[in-house]
């Protein structure tokens, strides 16, 4: 777990004081909205459809129980009793009053959190594998590198006004659980044959208006050169990225237009120069950070065997529990996707319960996933029944992880001022239609992602089934995409055909899944069958 040092705390406290003064001046009328707007956005405070919205950064999705409890307290005290976990491992509050913003930021700072750089054309909160430090398949823990990136990117003066926002994701496993290649920079921590840690660097991925999969820019980078190399990547982007057209301003456009080879050449040239400047933190700093992420004291006597005689519990274990690197332990994913529910929303009571479970059963650790769920990363298998019972009582034991009911959905037109169509009601209808968990399990892994506009906060390009909401002459319309994926086999979905109404889309998805069931070969996921057969037969079935 990261720990604020005196510099971190002083910087965040100073920012809170500064913003408190800015809010006071805005309320007193000495700052106009034109002056104030960039200041509030620098502190994660947006003005959305119905109210101010505060986006709080959760560093690489990692929380302790005190932080989680504070998130619940803020939901109760300053919002309307709930929060929304986002696809960038953050949390958003939808009903914030401007006058309360300084007090909220003060509360956040008291637990080592803030909302800085959750907006604007800067380096946003780094995201990471939500199973980091726990996964059985992990090569190396990416969190120390993510923490180094947090320290490097926070208030980095050179990169505070980039051509466009900038997102970094980092993983340390073969399995990509962070959609790493769909970020401006993706980093995979790897090991060479000598056992040394290095980094594989991907640059120029992204979703949005022009989705692209990031190419490899560096196959192997010595881990102790990460900051210098990323500095070079950002400098080339900052120098040549377009500022005349926001739709062509992301680094993916630069890498695409220069070509990966030329971009790489320029980065290497800049990198060679930066290495002469001694910007890289000393190895002792990375070692100090790594010590903060040492394994918690796992129970060496923890047992593997558990009583699975309760079928509902057994179902949940099978679907929502993953192998842990420590014997007798497990990783629990708490689904925030009840049938008919709002993806990613959690009430203050639920947030507090999850905090208590982390404190009591998971070495005080939590993770937020980009799929809008919450993870207890380090639990003893023997504690699974007690955890499940408490989750079940709170409506948090839905056994649908990675199934069709585990839908990613952006806030859409119900909350977001950028949206063209509502996402959440559609997600609710789909998850209600497929509420039968056995039916979901029969369909197998099926990632369904919904965005309410082309900005793709709902990752629709990366869904096995993706949905994009559009505005057709003032009427909501939904385009259906098939064939996207965010993992090791990253691919971009393609639009099947003409769009649908909300109800029409639910029917279309059902027809696609029925066609898959009829055509699948043993062991094939929906995505596999789609890739084998291609788009045409699916289209024929969907529009029949």
């Amino acid at each position: 777990m990261y720990q604020y040092d005196t510099y971190d705390q002083a910087m965040v406290d100073a920012r809170v004081a500064e913003f408190s003064d800015q809010v006071a001046r805005r309320l007193a009328g000495t700052l106009g909205e034109e002056q104030f707007r960039p200041l509030r956005l620098k502190n994660g405070l947006y003005l959305q459809l119905h109210a101010y919205m505060l986006r709080v950064a959760i560093p690489y999705g990692t929380l302790n129980s005190a932080q989680m409890r504070m998130l619940g307290q803020i939901a109760d005290r300053y919002d309307r009793g709930y929060g929304h976990f986002t696809t960038r491992q953050n949390i958003q509050y939808n009903w914030i009053r401007l006058e309360d913003a300084p007090a909220i930021l003060t509360d956040l700072a008291s637990v080592g959190m803030h909302a800085i750089q959750t907006s604007g054309n800067c380096i946003r909160n780094t995201t990471a594998d939500h199973f980091a430090g726990a996964a059985a398949d992990e090569v190396a823990d990416p969190r120390p590198y993510a923490e180094l990136l947090r320290q490097w990117s926070t208030f980095h003066p050179e990169f505070d006004y980039l051509p466009r926002k900038f997102k970094v994701a980092i993983i340390g496993s073969e399995t990509d659980r962070a959609a790493m290649r769909l970020h401006d920079i993706g980093i995979r921590v790897v090991r060479n044959t000598a056992g040394e840690e290095g980094l594989k660097i991907y640059v120029g991925g992204g979703m949005g208006r022009t989705p692209m999969i990031a190419p490899v820019i560096r196959d192997w980078l010595p881990a102790q050169q990460m900051v210098s190399y990323l500095e070079a990547c950002l400098r080339v982007y900052n120098r040549h990225g377009r500022r005349d057209n926001k739709y062509k301003a992301r680094i993916k456009i630069l890498v695409h237009e220069l070509g990966a080879d030329e971009y790489r050449r320029q980065v290497e040239e800049e990198f060679a120069h930066i290495l002469t400047l001694g910007l890289e933190p000393p190895p002792a700093e990375l070692a100090r950070i790594k010590a903060q992420f040492a394994d918690p004291p796992f129970d060496p006597a923890a047992i593997e065997a558990i009583d699975l005689s309760d079928p509902d519990f057994a179902l949940w274990v099978d679907q929502n529990v993953h192998p842990h690197k420590a014997p007798g332990h497990a990783i629990v994913t708490i689904s925030l996707k009840p049938a008919g529910g709002i993806p990613g929303d959690a009430s203050a009571d639920q947030i507090r319960l999850i905090a208590d479970l982390a404190r009591d059963y998971s070495h005080d650790e939590l993770r937020v996933t980009h799929a809008q769920n919450v993870v207890l990363p380090h639990v003893r298998r023997a504690d699974l029944p007690a955890i499940w019972q408490q989750l079940d009582a709170a409506g948090l034991a839905t056994a649908n992880l990675d199934l069709i009911g585990d839908i990613i959905a952006c806030p859409g037109l119900d909350y977001c001022s950028l949206a063209n169509a509502r996402s959440i009601p559609l997600a609710q209808k789909i998850s209600a239609r497929f509420a039968d968990v056995e039916r979901q399990r029969d369909l197998g892994e099926l990632k369904l992602k919904i965005s309410g506009c082309i900005n793709a906060c709902g990752h629709h390009h990366a869904g096995h089934i993706g949905v994009l909401g559009v505005d057709r002459k003032g009427v909501e319309n939904y385009q259906l995409l098939l064939g996207g994926s965010e993992g090791a086999d990253t691919s971009l979905g393609t639009i099947v055909g003409p769009g649908f109404s909300e109800d029409g889309l639910v029917d279309a998805i059902e027809r696609a899944t029925e066609f898959y069931r009829a055509q699948r070969q043993p062991g094939e996921r929906f995505l596999d069958t789609y890739r084998r057969l291609g788009a045409a037969p699916f289209k024929e079935a969907i529009y029949a």
């Binding site: 805005r26 309320l27 009328g29 106009g32 909205e33 003005l47 959305q48 459809l49 119905h50 109210a51 101010y52 309307r80 939808n94 009903w95 914030i96 009053r97 401007l98 006058e99 709002i342 037109l413 119900d414 909350y415 949206a419 509502r422 959440i424 009601p425 609710q428 505005d471 003032g474 009427v475 909501e476």
Partner: protein, 103 residues
């Protein structure tokens, strides 16, 4: 009452960010209290913005009939009502027809 197309002014309140509508004398949270303006409302918005009584004001087209005022664009209808997925937090929490008003 015959349906007519009117221009009304909207924005958000400074303090709480609530959606508000220009009534001719001030701002209301209820769209049915909105007043039709004869032009694009730029002068009103400029004065009200300068006074800190509205943030991000702008004019929209709406239809007015015997049932009230209904924005022509769905985004403004969502703004006027509240989130359709949390009608308990909307301005019409007990109205079963509220969601249908959006569509």
């Amino acid at each position: 009452m015959t349906a007519e197309t009117i221009t009304i002014l909207t924005g958000n309140a400074l303090l709480g960010g609530e959606v508000i509508w220009w009534t001719g004398q001030g701002w209301s949270r209820h769209i049915d209290e909105a007043a039709a303006v004869p032009d694009d409302g730029a002068a009103v918005i400029a004065a009200e913005s300068a006074a800190g009584r509205v943030v991000g004001g702008y004019a929209i087209a709406a239809t007015r009939d015997g049932a009230g005022i209904r924005p022509q664009h769905i985004k403004e209808r969502v703004r006027a009502l509240g989130p359709t997925v949390r009608l308990d937090l909307s301005l019409r929490p007990h109205d079963p027809a509220a969601a249908a008003w959006i569509a």
